[in-house]
Chain length 151, copies 2
Amino acid sequence: MLLIEKVLTLRSSEIFHNTPEAELVELAGILEELYLNPNETLFQKGEIGESMYFIYKGKIRIHDEDLTLAVLEENEILGELSVLDADTRSASATALQETILLKLDQEPFYDIMLANAEVLKGILKTLGRRLRIMDAKLAETKATPTEQPSR
Amino acid sequence: MLLIEKVLTLRSSEIFHNTPEAELVELAGILEELYLNPNETLFQKGEIGESMYFIYKGKIRIHDEDLTLAVLEENEILGELSVLDADTRSASATALQETILLKLDQEPFYDIMLANAEVLKGILKTLGRRLRIMDAKLAETKATPTEQPSR
């Protein structure tokens, strides 16, 4: 895969959308390509996870045993919380077809954030925005007449 | 205020709970003390915010005009999303009584994260956990019988 294809995959993800191009090139250089066959398991619910993945091509089913929680496609990401806190996977992930992933491990992810203020700022900005959106959604939920009032 | 009091205030907040003591001491050194009178406004909804605050003593009302959204007390924090993304304040904040705050600005916050991998990891771990909790809460909401099924 070309470096530029990896850069474009990173850029199209929410988490690196605010990261400058020079830093994306550096990040792209440490991504590992991963090829999955149909029905191949990427990770199981409950495993400790320290990597996040970008879907370059293909489809990944996120599931809890037989219950499908989501189907993720090209340019979507998975496992992004585990790269932050190295906690257990909250669901399993299995390829639905031949799938190419780009894998980013926690250690190089932290190294690159620590070396590049712009990468760190882009990621924290994205996380901040995500928390704001979720705060607003939860406030909405609480504001429905059957629930306690929004606080 | 003693440096050790500032350290204890930082340590009692969720965001710095995982930060090692040596780094808390460094962080405590850059906090600015802020004294508010009763009814004094800290910030208004819609203003650009680049600081977060730790409540050392007193009470702060978070509100949208006359509607009280929350009353925050000792050891609670406010404005923590603005220090991440320097976006506008989503509500106003006014002191209910004499209040002592510790103010942390975005720039020193980033500087200390970039200089201390442990601080950065602690904060990202906290943000990751917070996103996991909110994900779970939203999934719960969606799983209620009147709503669409959880995805």
